[in-house]
Point group: C2
Chain length 251, copies 2
DNA sequence: GTTTGTGAAATGATTCACAGCG
DNA sequence: CGCTGTGAATCATTTCACAAAC
């Protein structure tokens, strides 16, 4: 496996906590909805409910951005929309490339949410020569051979990887070498990148596994009657060779 | 907006921290790869590198599961694969339904990672009558009208929502009423669910916005020379009506 | 000698609760 | 009065560092 760091430990970014940054898009979405309904102001309580967080957290989050509210009144919707957009860097145009135009890549290319907030699909790239030239979501697919020039010509700094796992690291390396410094990875692999490059990953299978964990726990709790009860789940606490361990076992 | 809680505050689940649960699938993936290469044992250092975390974190994580390692040696790969699988509930079969068979839903249906780990796509559901009967990924699409009976007949407890945002809450309500207790939501909306139902969300646009934030910050740092320097970013600290605020402004 | 498992320390995030402003 | 903004308290997570186990 390649060396190099992965998932830089969070840019300490002028002091806005990473957890807050991750919620700003949520607030922005709720605010945009209010804005479309021409709601002029909103209280932390209302906005928090719309964003699915509690109001103390929301106010603390906003306090990192500055004092944008009015005591006794709330927040001006339009003004907050602008401030958060600017904080997130959405007041500028971000050309992105999507690499790997299979089912998922095509879905991403067609996803409206991209275009809506400063993101522009600048190019679609695939390794299959048969795909070259074929339009997906109105954009002609280009071949991987031209990856470097496509990045350079479009001034792309954000890349989306939707290739099979086996190709992801190689694609990642080429993207980074070509100047991409932020990567959204849909391939189920850990990507190694040099310092200064941000990677975020979206892994469907991981999300399902986390749900399965909680689902299983619910089933166990239910079977035991009282939810919250600390009960004896079948689980070896040592490496004892007996018990309910099946075929697969240690030496 | 509907009342009700969203994103239950983390099932305190027999004491395994939520952050640890979220990493177990990562370890499992790395271990599976080792297993396929017939590697018998692995040290915390090696496994951590493969999973993209540091070894102290990995050891602490494993300590919540029990003592599955051997000092001076490391962990038995096969044994750990089994223990983590069981902890995550992957030793049982989880039938899932996918609702909303557009581009994304189809991509999910075709996604191999589902089947590989205990998850089985039990049904595809869409509101478009024209889709009904058409096979996607070899599975015939069924109409939303039959949602409740499909859930019941297949014993489904995990649902995936890939509908447009406008339909998501309604679909969610029906899934929950029909007995689904875990939901993976791809629609860009906050879902309201009763207590006891888990929701995880995947939002492409949010991920991109987080990347844009860091990307912007890099650009600013670079322009200022020294990375890490606390420099003056254009940013009002008060609500002063002058400055670089454009058209959109507070009253 | 090597590598785990884990208390203790450090860091980070959330929640409380209320002073202060409009 | 109502609602924001924020210190202080609480809770969670990560990291350190080392004794114990092999």
């Amino acid at each position: 496996m390649a060396t190099g760091r992965t998932h830089r430990p969070a840019t300490r970014s002028r002091g806005i906590p990473e957890a807050t940054v991750a919620r700003l898009p949520l607030y922005l979405r709720a605010l945009t909805a209010l804005s479309e309904r021409s709601v002029p102001t909103v209280s932390s309580e209302e906005l928090a409910a719309a964003a699915g967080v509690n109001s103390a957290k929301l106010r603390k989050d906003f306090s990192y951005l500055g004092s944008y509210g009015t005591r006794g009144v709330g927040y001006d919707v339009e003004y907050l929309v602008y401030q958060i957009s600017r904080e997130l860097g959405l007041t500028q145009d971000w050309p992105v490339v999507i690499v790997g135009i299979g089912n998922l890549g095509a879905a991403l290319a067609n996803y409206g949410g991209f275009a809506s907030r400063g993101f522009r699909v600048a190019a679609l790239i695939d390794a299959d020569p048969a795909m070259a030239g074929k339009p997906v979501a109105g954009i002609p697919v280009q071949h991987t051979d031209d990856l470097e020039s496509i990045i350079a010509e479009n001034g792309v700094s954000i890349g989306v990887i939707a290739t099979p796992a086996g190709a992801a690291q190689q694609v990642c390396d080429r993207l980074v070498a070509a100047g991409v410094t932020s990567i959204l990875n849909f391939a189920p692999t850990v990507l190694s990148v040099p310092d200064g490059v941000d990677v975020r990953k979206v892994d469907l299978s991981i999300e399902l596994q986390i749900l399965a964990f909680h689902e299983q726990r619910k089933a166990v709790e239910e079977a035991a009657g009282e939810p919250g009860t600390v009960l004896q789940v079948p689980k070896e606490t040592g490496k004892g060779p007996d018990g309910d361990v099946p075929a697969v076992m240690p030496a």
